[in-house]
Symmetry: C2
Subunit: 123 residues, 2 copies
């Protein structure tokens, strides 16, 4: 897997604040006109397959975020779409079930949906 300028830019943006981002968000955050949306999609998919990125789908849009060692997930506000990181406590649970079914886990995704403090006040 080659590290190109485009791939580096995409990774940099995702590492800037570790907030999950869609392909479109990434394209707009990187102003470079040399970057194409297809490339963003292809890069995100490639990184995801290698394990560098994790993915969550919200309202049929895929959001990607850096998979760090302290593996975590997100709690997302369905109003303002802001995401709050939460630690992952799933590894033991998942491992047990997987062993029972002889299922080879590649990755997992967890998302909690709700309304954040700010949006609750606005209602």
């Amino acid at each position: 897997m080659r590290m190109t300028h485009q791939r580096q830019m995409i990774l940099d943006v995702l590492k800037k604040d570790y907030q999950p981002k869609s392909a479109d968000m990434i394209l707009h955050l990187i102003h470079d006109p040399k970057l194409n949306l297809s490339t963003v999609y292809r890069t995100l998919d490639a990184f995801f397959n290698v394990g560098i990125l994790s993915k969550s789908t919200i309202d049929n849009i895929n959001y990607y975020y850096v998979t760090d060692h302290k593996h975590h997930h997100y709690m997302v506000c369905t109003q303002c779409k802001k995401m709050f990181p939460i630690d992952c406590h799933l590894d033991e649970i998942a491992k047990d079930v997987a062993e029972k079914h002889e299922f080879k886990i590649t990755h997992h995704d967890m998302t909690i949906y709700g309304i954040c403090k700010e949006c609750q006040l606005k209602m």
Copy 2:
């Protein structure tokens, strides 16, 4: 919320085996030519909003399944797409985090991806 013939058919199909199903799968399982795909989508969305159904997204396709009291999630095989139900152990974890952030949880989703026993043998 009115219980129409279409809605009843959709719910019946989902309750038949409790396996997650996409709108398209549901349409094909119900042979009735009087059922339209739009209706399936609208019904699934309506049921989801009321809480009767839960949803998981795999490869950009939404799968819906009946939300039962013994709340559970799925472990999905990325090869054959078969899904294995697993119990949910998340409620306490989620509650703690939510309280800390004053986040009002509406629902959550968890999916474990991997390769099932059968597909491993085929490789």
